[in-house]
């Protein structure tokens, strides 16, 4: 079976609630069949609005959304056949778990035996076979969550939307649920559109991530690309940890540039800068800068250790480097890092390829 490309397609979608502010601006997004796409962004960035438009609870102010090539703006939610997992599960409190799962099948007038078969299958998928007769109120948060997932999948929808489904769970449970949802996705191959503000969640689960800010998709790419190669300073800041230097381009040639800072100068990889004199923000991941590098690196600076925080498997070191007193290093714990002591001056090196000169903040 060949997978359909642009199975879900947002085409130039705008959304405004009050006619003054655009919550979603010119959104274009293609989602492949069977893909797990996460909309990631801070609150108020428009990601939930996009999900609601796809589910049919909000109408686009402009533009069109296509599901399997068909425009769906005029189709009411109950005819879209899209499963949805809500933030607080939205299980029907007056129905048992079984009735909750049977609800979408009953409204589709499926025969009683088929309903029982399908519900049993869905319950065993989330390993809750024994819980059919319980009321949702008698279940723990994690169990309710799994019931909600099973309910969204039981009627075999082509797309499942999940609106911060793990937000109410504690950390350990959240992590195990991440894997569980990921496995369910892999085993049944349904298209999932997932909304979260938790970047860890997005990185673990998704095939692709759309980073939202200010109503726009800032970057749409796979988790590793998003982390390694952010295209602008918002994405670099939002995903993972990040050291930044603000400066001005003093020279640019052959895929490398010189950035003049308030104190000193560094060599960087020009991503969104083109000419000399442009303002820029240079972004370096903490684990890409090394202490006393053995191999030769084209950036070498001296920094003073201002703070050392022990984290078990690694140590976080805060340095004052080139006037930036927030420069963070992650040093793996090994017996060699002996001169990491408060107040010491150390040599720091990094490759210019890992220092990405992005747009100024």
């Amino acid at each position: 079976m060949s997978k359909k490309e642009d199975f879900v397609k947002f085409d130039k979608v705008d959304k405004s609630y009050d006619g003054k502010v655009l919550v979603v601006k010119d959104l274009n997004l293609d989602i492949e069949e069977g893909e797990f796409v996460t909309m990631l962004g801070p609150s108020g960035s428009g990601k939930t609005t996009c999900l609601m438009m796809l589910a049919g609870f909000e109408t686009p102010t402009n533009g069109e959304i296509y599901l399997d090539k068909n425009p769906i703006s005029n189709i009411p939610p109950h005819k879209r056949g899209i499963g949805m997992v809500f933030q607080n599960y939205a299980l029907f409190p007056h129905m048992t778990v079984f009735e909750n799962l049977a609800f979408p099948l009953r409204v589709r007038k499926i025969s009683k035996e088929d309903i029982e078969k399908k519900v049993d299958k869905a319950l065993s998928m989330v390993s809750l076979s024994e819980f059919g007769n319980r009321m949702p109120g008698q279940l723990s948060g994690g169990q309710q969550q799994r019931v909600a997932v099973a309910r969204a999948l039981v009627f075999d929808p082509s797309v499942v939307l999940m609106d911060e489904p793990l937000g109410a769970l504690d950390k350990n449970l959240r992590e195990s649920m991440q894997y569980e949802i990921k496995h369910i996705h892999e085993s049944i191959g349904v298209t999932v559109v997932y909304v979260t503000h938790d970047q860890g969640e997005a990185l673990t689960m998704s095939n692709r991530i759309a980073v939202f800010n200010d109503g726009k998709v800032q970057q749409l790419s796979s988790p590793d690309k998003l982390y390694e190669e952010p295209v602008n300073s918002f994405v670099a800041e939002f995903i993972g940890e990040n050291n930044t230097f603000a400066g001005e381009i003093s020279d640019i040639s052959n895929g490398s540039c010189k950035v003049k800072l308030d104190q000193g100068e560094i060599i960087a990889n020009p991503i969104s800068v083109k000419s000399v004199g442009e303002k820029t923000t240079v972004s370096i991941r903490p684990e890409r800068a090394l202490i006393n590098p053995k191999d030769k690196m084209d950036n070498n600076q001296k920094g003073k250790i201002e703070e050392v925080i022990y984290h078990g498997d690694h140590t976080r070191v805060r340095l004052n480097l080139l006037g930036n007193s927030e420069f963070i290093l992650k040093v793996p714990n090994s017996s060699q890092n002996l001169d990491i002591k408060l107040g010491n001056e150390i040599n720091i090196g990094w490759n210019s390829h890992d220092a990405r000169a992005l747009d100024p903040k």
Binding site: H78, M84, N88, A90, H94, P104, V107
Partner: protein
């Protein structure tokens, strides 16, 4: 294992249960002291009056105390034929004292309840008895009025002999115990109380229904509108609460009377002709309209408080799972509002069943309810024991409804907010 080893001791060696009781004693006393004012208030203003009402409704000591000698003499009388001279003499002596003390009027009223026309007979006796000679009272009394020869009047007196009676309760449902002591219905044209009871139930039922039909959409809107609109709407709902009941009822009179605003409007739009204005007041219509308006907030508020707690995502979930809006409403939303419906209906029904002032003002003859009858007996006939009896019947009726409701829906499911 013996029970001694099971007993858990605290660190000091005192049994744990005892030491727990000791530790909590202070808190329990404090809690009790806090509720004492309310408890006293309830006892004085609620329990005591109801107990008093009950004793008043079955109390028949007044007549018993007025005619002590007569009832003693009547103990031997079988009630088949006219009583003996002994009874006549005793009655004469009792009645003489009453006339002297100027309390004969009460007896006349009481006995008139028992037998119509007794009052005039007794009044005549009060005038004539001054000239009675000693001895042969039977002849003398019978000479005063021929009705004294009728055994029924004597039976009427005897019926009032016991200190306690349930006759008022029988009267409340248009029954009485006849001369033979059998419980029978009153004549068909005099069965007014049953009409009133059934009308009260009917009005309460329909008022509850109308309130429900109107309050449900309002409450839903209140619970789902954005804050600034819902506050405004809430004020509109509560505004009647802040207006005097009398003012509201009076304004309905202005609106609904035949020359009133509503009728003027109907004439103006040509719905009715000027000389054919419908009567919307001083009948059941007036009672329905005014009571529904007055009791509406009691339905809105419990419904609102329940709907407020229903997450809007539940309806969305229903729709996203493929239910049409109507199905989602009836399968998901409606069942979740049942506690509020129960609370609102119970509240409105119970309030409506005992409603007094509005039916009295706008009800007219065909719109009065049982409570108006109670008030009538309190104020006009001064038959307080009958009023008490009907009041208690009303209270019992409410308790029965509450009990049925508890069986059907369960009181735990009520949510008042």
């Amino acid at each position: 294992m013996s029970s001694e080893t099971q007993k858990i001791l605290s660190t000091d060696g005192i049994p744990l249960e005892e030491s727990l009781k000791k530790a909590e004693k202070k808190n329990k006393i404090k809690a009790f002291l806090l509720v004492t004012p309310l408890l006293l208030f309830l006892i004085i203003t609620y329990i005591v009056p109801i107990a008093d009402m009950f004793s008043r409704s079955i109390d028949d000591k007044m007549v018993t105390n007025m005619l002590p000698k007569t009832f003693k003499a009547m103990e031997q009388w079988d009630g088949k034929e006219l009583p003996s001279e002994e009874v006549f003499e005793a009655f004469y002596l009792d009645y003489k004292i009453l006339v002297k003390n100027k309390t004969a009027g009460k007896l006349q009223t009481q006995l008139n309840y028992e037998k119509n026309g007794f009052k005039s007979v007794l009044k005549k006796l009060a005038r004539k008895q001054k000239k009675f000679e000693e001895g042969n009272y039977k002849e003398q009394i019978m000479k005063v009025h021929k009705r004294w020869r009728n055994v029924e009047y004597w039976r009427a007196i005897k019926r009032r002999a016991p200190a306690y009676t349930y006759s008022k309760y029988l009267k409340g449902v248009d029954m009485y115990s006849n001369e033979d002591g059998k419980i029978v219905q009153v004549a068909e044209d005099r069965r007014i109380h049953r009409i009133l009871w059934s009308r009260t139930l009917e009005v309460a039922f329909f008022v509850t229904l109308f309130c429900f039909l109107m309050a449900y959409p309002i409450a839903h809107l209140l619970a789902t509108l954005p804050m600034k609109y819902s506050n405004l709407l809430m004020i509109c709902v509560l505004l009647p609460f802040w207006t005097s009941l009398l003012v509201r009822t009076a304004s309905w009179m202005i609106l609904l009377q035949q020359q009133g605003i509503v009728n003027d409007f109907f004439v103006w739009i040509g719905l009715v002709t000027d000389d054919n204005r419908p009567e919307m007041m001083y009948n059941k219509t007036g009672t329905y309209v005014a009571m529904t308006q007055i009791l509406l907030p009691f339905m809105v508020l419990p419904l609102y408080s329940v709907m407020k707690t229903i997450s809007p995502s539940l309806m969305r979930a229903g729709k996203s799972l493929g239910a049409t809006p109507a199905v989602a409403f009836f399968k998901v939303y409606f069942p979740l509002t049942i506690p509020g419906i129960g609370a609102g209906c119970l509240l409105v029904f119970i309030l409506a069943i005992g409603y007094y002032i509005t039916p009295a003002l706008v009800g007219g003859a065909s719109g009065t309810l049982i409570s108006n009858q109670i008030a009538y007996h309190m104020k006009s006939t001064l038959d307080w024991s009958f009023a008490s009896a009907m009041g208690l019947m009303l209270l019992t009726g409410v308790l029965v409804i509450y009990w049925i409701y508890n069986k059907l829906v369960g009181v735990d499911n009520i949510k008042l907010g």
